[in-house]
Symmetry: D2
Subunit: 419 residues, 4 copies
């Protein structure tokens, strides 16, 4: 979340108004194939219903833009803030997170009416440069929820014994990744938000860090390699695991990545045979760390990863979910990591860095200050972007973060080593 | 569940085929106003989704009638038994009870197709007297699920902060109940299943019990009286409560019936002002027992209640949900206790009898033997019938049963005293 | 608990003062071999430390006799009531039950000083007939705690991997039980408290019940028979188990009685080989019920058991713990069921009767009214007495009660059948 | 844990044999005033019984020195490893952590016999330089357990409503701390283990870090300042708290430091009035972070703290528990922070650094490799030393670590700010 970014939004193509409309259209397109029930249920506390995502993103626009900045704007429904505020304490009470799946009313149609109402009101604010930063934040926020919507519905479908599919198409084959290491000489590196373009507040302030010589793998760890780890008894050798990890493993009976069963894994196209060459995904930090230890290497720090990634942002062809592409969801391309050979766009990659504030970091004043800073405890930084990440979110300074046991995102790993 | 009832089904009007069709139609009619999402969610482990009720009742017919007795019948879908078996261990594995709300597929339309498919196949069995008892059981089973469907959806709607309504009509006024006591001289009474008509296996065998002289109140305890109990500090006086009850009260912060808030309570027509003269409902055994102690009286035993009720079964005008009435759900009459003055038809009435087997009781062989007997531990017998009970379930020997802390059924109480 | 027993205490030998002193001495004798640590720890919430039993029984005398009836008596320590009240809500706040094992101070020596102080003050009240009933209750109360002390310390020792022993002697051999059934013709039987002698309030009022013809086994089920039940797959055949039982079995991984491992079981003399002919003990109601079903029989009701037991009370030679025997604990006789052939004195026998109030039952006024009545929910009646029961507690009307999953008492079963 | 420290142990006074004996004597001296029961109980899973500490430290010597390096040494008791291994997976199974309080046998006397036996056998190894590093680790290990023993028994006593005291003396008055800030210009600093003396493996390898200009407070936050934080509504203002912290606060009803009640707090000398000028202690990371935010400052990183602390190690007069002082426990000086004005010796000070491996860190091979590395997830680094820390543990590179909600250590905070 940006608390003072007085600079042109140049990194992204298209005007901010175009990007607003494309993002809103993408949310709608993703919900379109879902039934009213698909869009309403909540399969675990970490996940949210698709309808809730559609509504919460709308609440964000209505609250922080329309209510605060559009003269005479009246709330569409006085009850919606209680239902669709996520975690903004400053914005008042809200429904318990674990009860989001009980909101069968308002219906999806009513939520879509609300979306249309808000879009119409927003149209009058989009071109006002005074709100540029806040609108850029709102777009980034909705794009993050698009990724969550995709991973949350995947989780929900995976819990249904009959394994529904959101896309009907078969998976694409893995691309094949380059082997080898990218060396880095160490020394002082500059990290954090770049001078132009949108960034969240947790990416700044930019600052210098001191690196030791290291190397980062050119490739992501694959399903095939993970199979070797399992075959070698990786999940039953306590020496590979952190203490908390071993307790988690035992308590939850973990013996393979989320969504694996025999030779298959669950995807947006249902149960499919795993591709040995595709990057492994849906693993926890605990598993990533144990694998790295088993492999005789380690995870990179967030700064090592960023130092390598500088200058490699956002290749045109990846990742898949492009908010600039208009409102057509490419139905031929369900999100699935294939091993593009890029740093960005297949899976979020765990680092060994705890998610903590950068020097001189301060959250923005007011409710939007709750966007990132208050989560800086107990979570780990992930870098890159996944096959379910909307395009504008692929940049070297981006810091995604999750708890060490969470697995329902497209999370994987890339090894590092000391030189 | 009957394991040998070679006798005419005379108590109910209409042929068994008519009753089958009326019951099936009633289930469908109740689901009709629900959205796909309303019918899919599960608001607590005790409750089930409406769609699940529609499917589970169909599974019962398909499994115990069609699969076992219809030549050449093929299962509609091989995956459905796993999804829609409730608790019949002998019928194999099934989805965890707490995950019933994740079954967004099959859709409601697919379940309705299944229902039609089963109804068509059942048509060929309905007139075969060889299956009469099993069909009577299936009808009774589906009627029980109709009551659960009504109370489960009420619970689900109550969890939505905007309080959706299933019916739009206002409540009817309470009828006003007679005061006074019905005396009984005590002595040997015959209890348990009557000589004619359908009965569940837990209602038998008929046997004799010895009663002391007692009296049963002519009236149900009302909302107004419950208000006095609260005002008198009933919920904070440990002397009124069983030890388990007091622990439950403290742990769950209980200080009033389920669905109460200030002067209102939640109903099938949304939040409504409470009628002081209407019977109190949605209370637990623990609360019923404490109230009776506070009032200086006690709850009746199941046998005392039955002794009084003999000969009073099933008055024509109550209860409200009549499977014989055809497939029209009377939209003017949402289920709500009004105080009819009858023993049957307002609320299920807690007795002080634990739910235990009658002398010489034996469950039926096979999977249907799991219908009642295996629940004979830790639960309490309730007598009567509620405003949400389908008509055929009002008889003196009927034994409903719930755990002492459960409150989401239309449960209330009628006082008794020693003479 | 007696709420009006104006009758001579004739059943027990010796004066009430003698019985007071013998009971107090027995408590002290049982604690004597324990270390300060043994006497302080609490191995589960159901159990209490030995020191706590020694103190709580003293609190009972100090509170209900000395404080209420001894002029000028001052509490020994103002803090002790908070520490040593068990569950008497009317007597004010108290330490959480699960924290009883944290009371390392007062020390055992301080508790013994308190005991001596109270005994001295009690000496002046013991001969006053005005307090006879309350003193009889206090004696019965302390005798019940002697049994708990024995079973609680057994449980605590069982949790120590090195298996400490409280007695060093080997077990006695089983006596061998008679085979066959005791028939009863049914009809009206009188049950409940007898006309003379002490009884708890839950044993009354005496009343009539109607029995069907039945038979009660002459013998208790043995370890050997239980082994056959296990070998026959008893713990994995869902058809034998109540629904709650099956859930408990699965959740807690139950596959044998408490304290069994391979061919041994844990006893007060440490780990010992099991005697196939000795009565099985440390089973739950759930297990007793499943065994009876497996055996093709059933558990008796509490009234059936009592009807058979009338006239057979308290044979001289059993049970082992005799408060009249003076303060010498017979170290040659650790409590262990051997199969005496008597109804009383080996193991408490589960009935199929829920623990509920008798007709016209009313608890005593005041705090002592909390003794029994408030536990009348969710528990089951056990009859007989165990090898750890003090002698005065063997009578036909005695109603012991536990939750259906509890196993740390000497609990077993005797089969019944319909005639 | 040191995995290659081929250097003289010079930092500590006295020979390694002297330090061994002094440390062992200190453990024994601290246990001496405890009763058998005091030493046996476990008040929460995080804490261990005093007897367990005495035994576990002995197990460490027996396992890693005597078993592995003393020819012909036979284990004192084959059952003790199961009882007294803490968390070394490589050393086999062990009793569940939460059951350590059930080990009433072996008795304290038996454990002391074991200690004497091990000390005698160790005497023959102490002067062998081949084992110097491992012995230094064993001493450091036992010294860490001395601090735990002190904080664990304090916790246990605090749970007893009568508030026992381990020392009888009154607290000493606070010393009064200097005000103001210590400035640091930033730049590259060298951190991690020093060139001489013992260090744990987690303190190395030494490496360089880049610091921004900052200042560290000369003083610890005091009880008086914490009172102002409370009075200002600090515990109810969500804006001050991390998201996990706010959830913890709400779930556990936290509104003040551990051991506070009204104007008092619990100490090793019982309940005492708080000294406003003494450093606050027994706070969690969550609270420390919220306080710093409230104060308009922040916590230091572990490297900032270390950069300031270089050259200030271990002033002679603090901390209080000096293993070199011989086996006399100074009964006049129970551990209590008084505000010495030193960086070391009052309370452990939370940093904002997650506990993670230093670059090129690798755990030692074998079981001792489990000492530190496997805990590098989810915990936070604390610097300094507390009033309960044994003298040899005060050094700039020392990294203590705890979970963010843990409070039973002497934990406090020292503010930092950006310059």
């Amino acid at each position: 979340m940006p608390h003072a970014h007085p600079r042109p939004v140049s990194q992204e193509t298209g005007s901010i108004a175009d990007r607003y409309r494309a993002t809103r259209a993408l949310t709608a397109a993703l919900i379109e194939p879902l039934s009213e029930a698909d869009a309403t249920i909540q399969s675990m506390e970490d996940a949210s219903p698709a309808k809730w995502h559609a509504a919460h993103t709308t609440w964000f626009w209505e609250t922080f833009l329309l209510r605060d900045h559009a003269p005479d704007y009246a709330l569409f429904d006085e009850q919606f803030p209680f239902l669709f505020n996520s975690y903004y304490e400053a914005e008042g009470d809200r429904i318990l997170r674990g009860r989001r799946g009980l909101i069968t009313r308002p219906t999806m149609a009513e939520v879509m009416d609300w979306r249309a109402h808000v879009d119409e009101a927003m149209a009058r604010l989009l071109d006002d440069p005074a709100h540029g930063d806040l609108i850029a934040l709102g777009i980034a926020h909705e794009q993050q929820h698009i990724e969550l919507l995709l991973t949350d519905i995947k989780h929900a479908f995976s819990k249904n014994p009959i394994g529904p599919a959101m896309w009907q198409d078969a998976q694409r084959a893995s691309s094949g990744q380059q082997r080898g290491w990218i060396d880095h000489p160490g020394g002082i590196a500059r990290v954090g938000q770049q001078s132009v373009g949108f960034a969240f507040d947790n990416e700044g302030p930019a600052h210098r860090v001191l690196l030791e010589p290291f190397a980062l793998s050119r490739r992501l760890v694959t399903n095939g390699e993970w199979g070797e780890f399992i075959a070698d008894g990786g999940y039953s050798d306590h020496r590979l695991w952190l203490s908390d990890a071993w307790a988690w493993l035992s308590r939850c009976n973990i013996s393979r990545p989320l969504y694996w069963r025999e030779e298959e894994h669950f995807t947006h196209t249902g149960w499919r045979e795993r591709d040995a060459d595709a990057p492994v995904s849906h693993i926890s930090y605990y598993e990533a760390d144990a694998f790295a230890t088993w492999a005789g290497h380690r995870l990179p720090t967030e700064f090592e990863w960023e130092a390598i990634a500088r200058g490699q942002d956002a290749p045109e062809e990846s990742p898949r979910f492009d908010a600039n592409a208009g409102n057509q969801l490419d139905e031929a391309a369900p999100p699935a990591p294939t091993g593009t050979g890029e740093l960005f766009g297949d899976v979020w990659q765990f680092t060994r860095s705890a998610y903590l504030p950068y020097p001189r970091f301060a959250p923005a004043p007011g409710a939007v200050g709750e966007y990132n800073g208050k989560f800086m405890a107990g979570q780990w930084v992930l870098k890159g972007a996944s096959c379910a990440t909307v395009r504008g979110h692929s940049r070297a300074s981006y810091r995604n973060f999750f708890y060490p046991q969470q697995r329902w995102q497209f999370t994987g790993l890339r090894l590092a080593k000391d030189n």
